[in-house]
């Protein structure tokens, strides 16, 4: 690389912008529409990390990511208001996660209640609409339902446990390109 090329490269990093220590950023810099490259970079990075984790840890990868997500869920939800009722807790969580993991409680048409009892278990179906994990996996051509999904599982379980004080478990029922169906099992 010649010196001229380096100078040319350095040129692109020179601006006349003045930063003062008291300046508070009042907006997202750069504007969100310019974030596409960053977003794709992040999705690729996450995909690579998960792929490598699977190569090294095999099936154990799920346990690692689930635990990480659960810890994160507990940490974040520590600051939420405590709610006894699971349905209300889900509504609150759905509101907080809106945009990242937009979800709703769901039931088949012939069910009267969202809380379903079947074969000795009590559960609520959740349909996840917007999901960063799904987007990352599809960006990288990776299968849904693996370790990265487990992070989200852990996160939701951790947050629900923290808010309600009750133990819970999340199971995948189906993954799709536009939404995924999960079962929140109440214990």
């Amino acid at each position: 690389m010649s010196e001229g090329t380096i100078e040319h490269m350095k040129e692109s990093f020179h601006t006349d912008t003045i930063y003062r220590s008291e300046d508070v950023p009042l907006g997202c810099i750069p504007p969100p529409e310019e974030l596409e490259d960053t977003l794709h970079g992040l999705m690729k990075l996450n995909g690579l990390i998960i792929r490598s984790l699977e190569e090294i840890a095999g099936r154990g990868a799920n346990a690692v990511t689930y635990r990480a997500g659960k810890k994160f869920g507990h940490e974040v939800a520590k600051y939420f208001r405590k709610i006894d009722n699971v349905e209300e807790a889900l509504e609150e969580l759905s509101h907080i996660l809106h945009g990242q993991y937009t979800f709703e409680a769901w039931k088949p048409a012939d069910r009267a209640s969202y809380v379903i009892q079947e074969n000795g278990t009590t559960f609520i179906y959740l349909v996840f609409h917007d999901c960063i994990v799904r987007q990352t996996l599809r960006r990288n051509g990776q299968e849904q339902g693996g370790p990265l999904c487990q992070t989200l599982f852990g996160y939701v379980v951790g947050a629900i446990e923290e808010i309600t004080g009750k133990r819970a478990k999340l199971e995948i029922v189906h993954t799709g390109p536009n939404a995924c169906l999960k079962k929140l099992i109440l214990m």
Binding site: E36, T102, A109, H129, Q135, T175, P177, N178, A179
Partner: protein
């Protein structure tokens, strides 16, 4: 409420949507998929992805965010299509 329409001329009766749908929304009747339980559809759109003849149409589905689509590829496609 989600409304599902199957293009009867396009459907080849392969039954993939019947097998794939987790809510058992479809049934094969006279070698054509019929959405017998559209009320149970939760809008995952797996059936769209799996249908080889693109015979399906859903109305009233919440379109989830798709930031993974590459805008440059879309721009190129727009020029071609």
């Amino acid at each position: 409420m989600i409304d599902i329409h199957v293009d009867e001329d396009a459907c080849n009766g392969c039954g993939l949507c019947v097998k794939d749908c987790p809510m058992h929304v479809y049934e094969l009747q006279d070698s054509t998929a019929v959405p017998v339980k559209a009320g149970d559809c939760m809008g995952c759109l797996s059936c769209h992805e799996i249908c080889p003849t693109q015979a399906l149409e859903h109305r009233g589905v919440y379109p989830s965010r798709r930031h993974y689509i590459d805008l440059r590829v879309c721009e190129m496609l727009k020029r071609v299509i």
